[in-house]
Structures are given as C-alpha cells and as structure tokens.
C-alpha cells in the first residue's frame, strides 16, 4: 500500500533535463489528452460461476477480446485478484505480462494461466482449499485501456451450525473462526448458508457468517424463531461487533482426502480412551466437520454414538430408521458428555498414506 498523502507535494525524483533527453517531443506544460474512440478491448467469462471441491482443480474462465486489426501488444497484462467482503480490499492471486509471471501468498505454486491461446486469460487453480471459495477478478490492461470480469468459485460441501463445549452463544467472531478451523471447516458465507437453507436447513440459533454478520436459517416459522406468522427465510441480526458480541457459528466444509470411519471396539470408551484408540489405529479422533462431510458427501451412515475431537458425541444417519433418527437424515448430536463417562464409541479419521 502506498502511503497516502493529502496536500503534500512530492519532490521531483527525475530532473527535467533528463526528461528532455528521453522525450524530446514532450511538451512539459501540456498533457496530451486522448479522446476515447470506443473500447477496443473487452474481457468476458463464458461462465460466471465455477463449482469445484476441496482438493480439486478449477478453471476460472476469462477471455480477452481485442480489435483484431490492432498490432499485438506484448505488454498486455493479466492480473487475477480475489475480492473480499471489504469492497476496497482485494487479495493478489496471480499476474502475468509477457514472459513475467508471479503468484502470491497461499496461491503460490497452485495457479497458472490455462493459456490455450494468447487471448486466453483463464486461471487454473489446483489443490483447492476451503479458503479459495469466493469471487475472483480477471483484469486485463492493454495500454491506456483496461477491462475486468468477476468469476465466482463455489465449492461442493456442507454448512453446519456449531457451538463448542462452552455452550450456546459463547463465540466472538475470532473464536468462531478458530472453532470452525478446529473442526476442519471455515466460517460459512451468506451464499453458502442461503444454499443450505434452500436445501432445508432450519436452525433457531444465530451464528456468525464470514462477512461479520449474524444470521440463522428458518424453513418452518415459529414463535421463538422470528415469529410464527412470518415467511420462511434467513433471519439477520445484521453486522455485529466482532470482539464484543457472542454467538454460535455456521461452518462450511467440503470433501476430504482421507478416510472417516467408526472404530469397532470391544467395549465403550471414555474420551481419553477414544483419543488413544484412534492413535493406536494409526489415525486421529475425527472432527465434527469430517463427520458432516462424510455424512453429506459420502452418505456415511452409522447408528452408534461416538466421541469426536471437540468432546462432543454424535452419529451420522443418512437412512432414517426406527431408533436411528427416524424422522430425518441428519448428524445427530448427543451433547458434550462428561469426558470420563465410559459410554460411547469413537469415530476416527486417517489421512491417506
């Protein structure tokens, strides 16, 4: 970021004489104003939305259209940035000009231009992470002209409401970010919650979203959840104080590369026994996000309540039946029992070798 100075003149770093030598034709007292004669450059995307999954690849389309009668410009510059919820802030992703190329930050080594032709500015992202979800801007600069197009990258996955052992409404925004990360997930976006609501998610506890707002999805209006005689929808508390206000959180997770499984044991386990049982099996006790992903994306079904890493006890049911979530397919939640209770099984997660 350039330091912004207001009403302070900048000292000259180039002496006027040097300029005279370099640009003898340049008249100092006048600027050459160029009249616009219609755009000769445009940038289009054949799809404005691309869907992929964690660990997968995606190609964000961006095609340059340029007056074919113009001589080719080797200095045409392509830059990809990622938009954020702050309209003034963009994150650098990739830039290319002539033979120079550079990728930035977490995108380093994971992005390149598809480059099927000199007019193809499409960006390929590999090994997609949950954080890659969002909107990307493809900007092309050609001399005085520049054009841009925005493409969304969506991920297949699942939104789940979350609160930790501390209980309901205990997370400020930063705690919420940590809580989701600890469950192999990230804080969901409004669009992700909206999709989940359209798929039937109904949850009467307000949770943080990644834009700093606090909302909850209601499909069956009822008195304690925004009123009985109201229309279904996502109820919003608006943008809340990220430090001072405490709520639950909506997390989002996508496909994983490892294996999620119920570890069959001869007897029920305490929490500590559950942790070491998974370790003995060459795995780790599973996280809440992994159970949700297995249930939603792999239709995992097991009617045994088991410990998870956060000390909660849950079980995933994709085929509702008697005694096993008879009314709906769901990840059932049995609370955060005393960790010393020797009453439950355990779910483990093993990274692929």
């Amino acid at each position: 970021m350039i330091p912004v100075l207001i009403c302070v003149l900048i000292s000259l770093s180039v002496a006027e004489n040097d300029l005279d030598i370099l640009y003898p034709e340049l008249e100092h007292s006048r600027t050459i104003y160029v009249v616009e004669n219609g755009p000769q450059l445009s940038v289009v995307a054949e799809q404005l939305k691309v869907v992929s999954r964690r660990g997968g690849n995606a190609t964000l389309p961006c095609k340059i259209q340029r007056d074919p009668s113009l001589p080719p410009n080797r200095k045409m510059r392509i830059k990809w940035t990622k938009l954020t919820s702050n309209y003034l802030k963009e994150v650098d992703v990739f830039v290319a000009m002539d033979f120079h190329k550079r990728s930035y930050g977490s995108f380093h080594g994971r992005v390149h231009l598809q480059g099927s032709s000199p007019m193809d500015a499409s960006l390929v992202i590999t090994e997609i992470t949950l954080e890659d979800y969002g909107r990307y801007k493809c900007e092309v600069i050609d001399g005085l002209e520049d054009e841009a197009v925005v493409v969304s990258l969506n991920l297949e996955g699942i939104v789940f409401p979350y609160f930790p052992r501390l209980g309901r409404y205990n997370l400020n925004y930063y705690d919420a970010e940590r809580a989701c990360r600890d469950q192999d997930a990230i804080v969901a976006s409004f669009d992700q919650l909206y999709e989940a609501w359209k798929d039937g998610l109904d949850w009467c506890n307000a949770g943080w979203l990644n834009d700093g707002s606090v909302q909850y999805p209601i499909t069956t209006p009822r008195e304690p959840c925004g009123g009985k005689d109201t229309v279904p929808g996502i109820r919003s508390y608006g943008t809340r104080d990220k430090d001072k206000n405490h709520y639950d959180v909506f997390c989002f997770t996508s496909h994983f590369k490892g294996r999620f499984y119920y570890l069959v044991q001869p007897s029920k386990l305490t929490y500590n026994e559950a942790v070491s049982a998974c370790q003995k099996d060459g795995a780790q006790i599973a996280k809440v996000g992994q159970m949700y992903a297995a249930w939603k994306l792999l239709a995992y079904d097991r009617c045994d309540a088991g410990w998870l890493a956060d000390g909660s006890v849950r079980y995933p049911i994709s085929q509702p039946r008697r005694r096993c979530s008879p009314t709906e397919a769901a990840v059932r939640f049995s609370g955060f029992p005393d960790k010393k209770h020797k009453l439950y099984g355990v779910y483990c997660y093993k990274e692929h070798e």
């Binding site: 970021m1 350039i2 330091p3 912004v4 100075l5 207001i6 009403c7 302070v8 003149l9 900048i10 000259l12 770093s13 180039v14 006027e16 040097d18 300029l19 370099l22 640009y23 340049l26 100092h28 007292s29 600027t31 050459i32 104003y33 160029v34 616009e36 510059r77 830059k79 309209y87 003034l88 830039v95 290319a96 000009m97 120079h100 190329k101 550079r102 600069i141 001399g143 005085l144 002209e145 520049d146 104080d241």
Partner: protein
C-alpha cells in the same frame, strides 16, 4: 471537504515506489497511473495516464487534471474541481509498471446540501433579507450560484424561483415542463431571473453544510400536536430539529416513512428507500403542505410524529467512516 468551503480537492497518491529488480533502468514515463472513484455499488474510472498520454472519462473531462504529470512522471496527484455530493467516496490510485503494481486509497466526504425553502406564509413571500434569515433559522446559509449548480449537476430540480447569495433569483430544471420553461423551452439547466430588487419576494435556496449533532425520530401511538412535539423532544433532552438538520440527516441516510414536526412548524419526512406509499416512490425530504398548491404548513393542532435534534453525538465506536 464541502461544497461551500473549497472550490477543488487535491488528491495525492503518495510517493510511487515500484522497484523492478530485473530492469535496472526504468523509462520514467512507463508507469501507468489510474484513478478511479470507488463506492460499494460501482467503480468509475476517472483517468488513465501512460507514456505522457492521459485519457479522461467523459464525465470528468472538464473538472479533473493531473497536477504534475507528465512533467514529473512520478507525481500522480490530481485536482478535482466543482465538487458535488456524489463525489463522496473512496478514490483509488493505481500505479503499475510491468508486473509490479501498487495502490493507495483516499477517502473523501463532500459535505453539505442545497435545499429549497418556502416559509409558512406561502409561495414567494421572502425579501432577500428575510430569505437570509429563513436559511439561518434552519441551520443553513443562503446558497451560492455555484452550490446550486453543483446540486443541479447531482440531479436537483425544483420549479420554484429562489434567492441566491449574488442577489439573483434562479431555479434548477432538468425536465422542462409547462410553467417551468422560462425562455429556454426544452433545454435543461438553471433558469435565472437575473439580479433582482432586494424587496421583491421569492422562495430561497439554502445550503446546510455539516451535521453537528444527531437527528432522531420520535413517535407515539396518538401522535403529537405541534406543542406536544416540542415537549416530546425536550423529554429526550433535545429540541425539534430544523429543516436544514433534517436535510443533513437525510443526506446521511435517514429514512422514515412517517411525517414529523420540525421547529419551523413545517411537517416533513426523509425518504432514502423508494416506496410507493412513502412520497410516491420518490427520494428526498418530502414536505406536507396545508394546501394542494404546495403552500402553508399544517395547523398546529394537527397530529404528526416529530424529528428531534440533539447536539450530543451517539457513541460511535464502530464507525469507520473517514471524514476529510
């Protein structure tokens, strides 16, 4: 910055510092400079400069110029003149050289609003002197011709002649219609009666510069007479807001679909979200007149809500709006 207090705005991009390790000598004019006006809704390019050439977007053509470029190729500063309310927002300058780039952001708040004022006595009842007093009583001053022009450029139109500081009488028209033509027929623009005798009577255009406190809306089930409204505000440690204060609150985003008393006994309501049932889907500070020809104020015993004003600012720990 305000429409009143400055004729132009200087925006500086700071020192351009782009290093390109691969290229030991950079031709001084090979930096590309771009200025844009950025709001939440959209980004508007103001100008682009490269290799001594400058392209200015049409709507900025006559009111922006680069301060030192190309004489000083690293000076990306610009001057923006004829400021208007819609110039509020963030200004982004981007400097690019090769694959390197950098940017800076300057926040600008253009303050002040021009409004048409017609007193309780009716249409065209103010001498120049009384017009000045009417603006003063409404937390404003008489508008200058330049301020009316800036408001016109932002879309302000009103078919009522009003005093301005240069003792002329004018009115701003975008869609000329019967009785508002003047002698220019269909040409949009500000119509002027020229310099007038100070004892002639007209309406007035006032200019309110800056909100110093806070305007808030107060309601009750039975609503208030004018006298009860005065009491209702004082119960909140406040007083009835002036018309100028309500205009400034409207400019700050206030939206209330119920008419309320103001200190001059006028009844108005601020609309920022268009709705057919709230002023016919139009935006602005809407006025409730006694007569259908838009004159007179409602009788003091009629019942409305009210708008109060307090000098106390609400505690504002999360405000991140930068005011320059």
């Amino acid at each position: 910055m305000s429409i009143l207090s400055s004729v132009f705005l200087l925006l500086f991009c700071g020192t351009i510092n782009i290093t390109n390790p691969g290229a030991p000598t950079i031709a001084p004019l090979s930096h590309r400079i771009k200025w844009s006006h950025v709001t939440k809704e959209k980004v508007t390019t103001i100008l682009v400069a490269l290799e001594g050439q400058v392209r200015i977007t049409e709507k900025y053509l006559d009111r922006v110029h680069l301060l030192g470029y190309p004489k000083t190729p690293t000076d990306a500063g610009i001057q923006l003149s004829e400021l208007r309310s819609s110039d509020t927002g963030a200004y982004r300058c981007e400097v690019q050289h090769g694959i390197e780039d950098n940017h800076g952001i300057v926040h600008v708040q253009v303050q002040g609003i021009v409004f048409h004022y017609r007193p309780i006595m009716g249409r065209y009842t103010l001498t120049f002197k009384n017009a000045q007093a009417a603006c003063a009583q409404n937390s404003a001053v008489m508008a200058s011709p330049g301020q009316l022009q800036a408001a016109y450029d932002d879309g302000f139109h009103q078919c009522d002649a009003g005093w301005l500081t240069d003792q002329t009488v004018r009115y701003p028209i975008h869609d000329p219609r019967v009785n508002c033509y003047g002698d220019k027929e269909h040409v949009p623009g500000i119509r002027t009666y020229g310099v007038r005798d100070l004892n002639e009577t007209y309406d007035v255009y006032c200019f309110a510069e800056k909100m110093t406190g806070r305007v808030f809306y107060t309601a009750s089930a039975e609503k208030f007479s004018f006298f009860e409204a005065t009491v209702a505000c004082s119960k909140h440690g406040a007083q009835l807001a002036t018309t100028g204060q309500l205009y400034l609150a409207w400019q700050g985003g206030m939206d209330v679909c119920n008419a309320g008393w103001l200190r001059d006994r006028s009844v108005r309501y601020p609309i920022n979200i268009p709705r057919p049932q709230c002023g016919g889907g139009l935006l602005g500070v809407r006025t409730v007149y006694l007569h259908t020809n838009q004159t007179g104020y409602p009788l003091p015993e009629s019942r409305y809500d009210c708008f109060c004003y307090t000098a106390q600012q609400r505690l504002c720990s999360t405000c991140n709006r930068l005011v320059k």
